[in-house]
């Protein structure tokens, strides 16, 4: 049997962060729930080994990423650059809401790997080397995917050029 108590304790402690990461990767509540559930089931299955290794969060992050890419490969959305960009007038809170909306729309138009690299690098704040480990790829690929993703974000929404300026690492 799975070490239910230990697993539950870990997940409950980390659920808010895991939920947020899943939402960013998946882009919707239903998809995020499915994604997180699929990842946690895999983690639970190997929980003894995962917890003994000492970094269960890294393990779950890796599963989340691979589940995300696997799921999205079936979706094959086309990307468009013709989305509505909200008016940018208003106070700070309005600007903040607008930026959030613009970023959310732009993220939805990235490829799964581009979206994942943005989340891993700038939301999870992982280094390029750790991101490469999670993605199972080379640092060079992380660099190029990041470069692609940020270029796409700027192309999709020029407003994001200012937004990303503090975080850009090509």
């Amino acid at each position: 049997m799975v070490d239910e108590e230990g697993f539950r304790e870990f997940v409950q402690a980390r659920l808010p962060r895991l939920s947020r990461a899943a939402y960013l990767l998946a882009g919707g509540h239903a998809q995020a729930e499915d994604l997180l559930q699929a990842a946690l089931i895999k983690a639970a299955l190997h929980w003894a080994k995962v917890s003994a290794a000492g970094d269960p969060e890294a393990y779950i992050r890796k599963i989340l990423y691979h589940e995300h890419v696997r799921t999205w490969r079936r979706r094959r959305f086309l990307e468009h650059t013709t989305d509505v960009l909200p008016e940018t007038a208003g106070g700070d809170e309005t600007d903040r809401a607008v930026l959030r909306l613009v970023l959310e729309q732009a993220l939805a138009k990235l490829t799964p790997k581009q979206r994942a690299v943005v989340v891993l690098r700038y939301f999870e704040d992982l280094s390029e080397a750790v991101t490469a480990q999670v993605m199972g790829t080379s640092v060079g690929t992380v660099k190029s995917q990041t470069n692609h993703a940020l270029s796409r974000l700027r192309t999709l929404a020029p407003e994001l050029a200012e937004l990303v300026e503090m975080e850009v690492r090509s």
């Binding site: 049997m1 799975v2 697993f7 539950r8 997940v11 409950q12 659920l15 808010p16 939920s19 947020r20 939402y23 960013l24 919707g28 509540h29 998809q31 995020a32 729930e33 499915d34 997180l36 559930q37 946690l40 089931i41 983690a43 299955l45 890419v69 490969r73 079936r74 979706r75 094959r76 959305f77 086309l78 990307e79 468009h80 650059t81 013709t82 989305d83 903040r96 930026l99 959030r100 970023l103 993220l107 490829t111 790997k113 943005v118 700038y122 939301f123 704040d125 280094s127 390029e128 190029s144 470069n147 940020l150 270029s151 192309t155 050029a161 937004l163 503090m166 850009v168 690492r169 090509s170």
Partner: protein
């Protein structure tokens, strides 16, 4: 100014608590039991796989777990004036004359309009594009001529019948130009389709020449078909698309190349001893330049215009320490070329960071004057402006726009120096030789582009 990470947090703040722990535990226990009770579990597994396959099939055939938006204006109302001409334009594409295909597609939509987010009234449906496009794909774009128009993409293999086309994308119609720019998981996989309203000419230009005087020379070729459909792999360097009527440009923008690996070495020693060698940053910058512009090969020389050590104070603490900075130019046979500045931090596996406003195009590097704000790893831009001037220059000054006041001056060593001026500033930088003669000058403003090559030649939107 907000950071990407902060706004990602805002987006993530919409997440709910997806409390799926019990399901996870149940799933794990169920899987555990499969090892003990092989026979019964195998049955469950088969059923599960069948169900999963059905789910995958349904998902694939309906464009994924999402669906086009419904809501006010999707079914009725008059289209906004901005997009009316586009919606009233005849069908584009190689299958524009295939009435049967288009009728079959519309029949599908009319049978279940909500699934497409489109009106069920045939009179309000518009086939904007129908064609076989590069990459052995068939693409049909259908829009609703309504108050809040939406378009959908139906795609399949080349030659696919209407019933075999899959709903693979959708978006609002809110500009007079359709730009379908799809990239797959591999960098070079995808296509771009672009067109505008009837009555406008469409022309393309690629492989620009970067001249020694700093200008860019382009030759534009008309696309008589009135649309562009390219395989990403076949996008040439510097491709731009222009949609215009007479001398009025409705839209002009870049189509990005698939990404090219650099060939050939970069001489990491900066020209005229400007700064000191920074091989790691120089290599990274040359790679990034080749990747973004596609400029590589035996006739392209990668030269370091300036490089130096650079202290990095990384708020994440992963790269704090002495890093490097380098401005590298892809020098073309015409004497000019694009350039880019890149910083690396002190990590063993260094993170690199593009520069806020040190990417663009210059002419002869012997005569060029570069002015850039140094990169920052914290919230606010630095106060420091880096000047890279012709080697004969010994002094530089910053003259404010408007009143002509000299805000700062600095001595130059081998043409290199720095000025402290908090952003934002706008004015002219002049470089003088030992006799006091101006050897170079250029306008400067704190418009940050962060190495975005779409801003080398700005996008034009005439609406």
């Amino acid at each position: 100014m907000r950071r990407l990470a902060e706004t990602l947090e805002d987006v993530a703040g919409q997440a709910k608590l997806y409390d799926v722990t019990s399901a996870a535990v149940r799933g794990a226990n169920r899987r555990r039991r499969t090892r003990t009770f092989t026979a019964s579990a195998l049955t469950i597994l088969v059923v599960t796989c069948v169900l999963l396959n059905v789910a995958m099939f349904l998902q694939l055939n309906n464009g994924g777990t999402g669906r086009p938006d419904l809501g006010p204006g999707r079914q009725n109302g008059e289209p906004p004036a901005l997009v009316k001409a586009l919606l009233d334009s005849p069908t584009r594409g190689s299958l524009a004359g295939d009435i049967n295909l288009q009728k079959d597609v519309l029949d599908r939509i009319i049978a279940d309009p909500d699934a497409y987010g489109l009106p069920g009234d045939r009179a309000k449906l518009r086939v904007l594009f129908a064609g076989d496009i590069p990459g052995n794909r068939r693409l049909v774009i259908v829009a609703g001529a309504t108050g809040a128009p939406q378009l959908v993409n139906l795609t399949g293999g080349k030659g696919a019948a209407a019933k075999s086309l899959k709903l693979t994308g959708w978006s609002d119609v809110d500009t007079p130009v359709v730009r379908d720019d799809w990239r797959g998981n591999r960098g070079d996989e995808g296509f771009v389709v672009m067109f505008g309203p009837a009555g406008y000419d469409l022309s393309v230009s690629d492989s620009p020449r970067y001249l020694a005087d700093g200008t860019i020379k382009r030759e534009w070729k008309a696309e008589p078909a009135g649309y562009v459909a390219r395989d990403t792999k076949a996008v040439p360097n510097g491709l731009r698309v222009r949609i215009s009527r007479d001398t009025t440009v409705l839209y002009e923008g870049a189509v990005f190349p698939p990404g090219t690996a650099r060939r050939g070495a970069v001489d990491v020693n900066p020209l005229h001893g400007r700064g000191k060698p920074a091989p790691r940053a120089a290599e990274y910058a040359a790679d990034a330049l080749a990747y973004n512009t596609g400029l590589t090969g035996p006739d392209i020389r990668y030269v370091v215009l300036w490089s130096d050590d650079f202290w990095v104070e990384d708020p994440n603490k992963v790269g704090t320490g002495m890093g490097q900075i380098a401005t590298v130019m892809a020098l073309t046979p015409d004497g000019g070329g694009p350039y880019l500045t890149l910083t690396t931090d002190a990590s063993p596996e260094p993170n690199s960071r593009t520069h806020p406003n040190a990417a663009g195009v210059i002419g002869d590097p012997e005569k060029a004057l570069l002015v850039m704000r140094l990169p920052h790893f914290t919230q606010d831009p630095l106060d420091t402006l880096q000047i890279v001037a012709p080697p004969a220059a010994v002094r530089a000054e910053f003259v404010r726009q408007g009143d002509g006041a000299v805000l700062a001056t600095t001595p130059l060593t081998n043409g290199v120096g720095r000025i402290e001026l908090p952003a934002p500033v706008e004015g002219t930088v002049r470089a003088f030789d030992a006799k006091g003669a101006v050897v170079a000058e250029r306008a400067y403003t704190d418009a940050f582009t962060y190495g975005d090559f779409s801003n080398v030649e700005p996008q034009v939107r005439g609406w």
